[in-house]
Symmetry: C2
Subunit: 247 residues, 2 copies
């Protein structure tokens, strides 16, 4: 299995030291340790930042990498998700947070580094910054014009990513044999149709409805190749009996 | 349809005014407007609280009801969820946040008032306070000994409740006719078994395996009563043909 990619939070142009600290605590609580700072206005060593991070998560601030711009901060990153509420004319594809988290967990599992990118408190990300990101992530809000505190957005994003990674780490549900190929289903339905031709019904339309019911049942039952062979074996037996002497 | 219940956030013994304001903004962003304060140490009118709420959500603080204790704050509430990380010997049943949100959305849809209850920043809820709640909600954390800022916990809780209510408001998936009663399936399987008795197999164990395959297929197909009748009609036809002259 490939080595898992690293998940980072990139904060761009953050102006309030308290938000840096609160974001570090939000990240740490959800197991995200790598903080990238691009053109920060606030210093990660500011006492208010350190206090808000709490002793448990202050190391995240101390180890944060400071970069002059987002491009430098994302140098090693393969996938970047821009968090923005502003609608833009030209923009990368947008995903609601929960769907974004599932994508991110697959990208990390494939060994690729991923960054969650958050803009300055007032202005949000610039267009040239969202253009560096290959996707937009949106956190649903009760009202379209509201906005989250940046550390609150970091909290929800890291929470969703942690849950998505935990869900992906669970073994896939055991559903036994893989479903048959569609061509096997088509043959089985054709065989069923031929067998049904001799079923005595008052109206031909009833036979057509029976076929639809059988097709829908098979669609839900998702027979495996072995199931399909077994059913066709049984139908072949009926055929032989019809053609041969009665039992 | 019953009138939907009200969702409230109850904050107990909050000491930091900034946390009151941040919680109000977190609530408002997710459409929760009712804030109940029990034995608060910080004043909701504190300038830091008002600033952190932002102008959009300051009305939540202004309209917050202040009570001397949690019992008074929850007077009209039917279901209360205590947010706590501390393990207690005697405690109400605990739900992970996402499962709790699904329960809460059903309780609100049934017209019952629900409160999310958050304790003081340092000490958390007292036992007599969790005992007033009929459930514990836990927000998953990366490390068992970590803790969230109280406003961050309010943010995640309100976000999960908003998403669960939105999902519940969608029309239920159309899966057509309801599944047949188990007794219909039992009769159908018995009929199939009788029909299979005349199927020529080398080993009786093969017939038993075919029956298991058919039973599992039916379990996945979830036939409706009409499907079950149709299948039994077809089997009855095979029976008649076997007993009567060959076609």
């Amino acid at each position: 299995m490939a080595k898992s990619g690293r998940l980072s939070v990139a904060m761009v142009g953050t102006t309030h030291p308290g938000n840096l600290g609160a974001a570090a605590r939000a990240m740490g609580s959800m197991g995200v340790a790598r903080l990238l700072l691009a053109r920060p206005e606030a210093r990660p060593a500011d006492p208010e930042a350190v206090a808000r991070a709490t002793a448990s998560h202050a190391p995240i601030l101390a180890q944060a990498a400071v970069h002059p711009d987002l491009g430098a901060a994302l140098a090693d990153v393969r996938h970047a998700y821009a968090f923005t509420v502003r609608r833009r004319e030209l923009a990368p594809p947008a995903y609601a947070m929960r769907a974004a988290a599932r994508r991110i967990s697959r990208q990390l599992a494939a060994g690729r580094d991923v960054a969650l990118v958050f803009g300055p408190e007032q202005e949000g990300l610039r267009n040239d910054e969202t253009d560096l990101c290959d996707a937009i992530a949106t956190i649903p809000l009760a009202r379209a014009r509201g906005s989250l505190n940046v550390a609150a957005a970091v909290q929800i994003a890291c929470y969703e990513c942690m849950l998505a990674r935990a869900a992906a780490a669970e073994p896939p549900p055991k559903d036994g044999e893989p479903p048959a190929a569609k061509k096997e289903i088509v043959s089985l339905l054709a065989h069923l149709d031929a067998t049904l031709q001799e079923y005595p019904v008052r109206h031909p339309s009833l036979r057509a409805r029976m076929m639809r019911r059988l097709a829908l049942l098979l669609g839900r039952a998702k027979p495996s190749s072995a199931d399909a062979r077994m059913l066709r074996g049984f139908l072949a037996h009926l055929d032989r009996r019809r053609r041969g002497p009665p039992l």
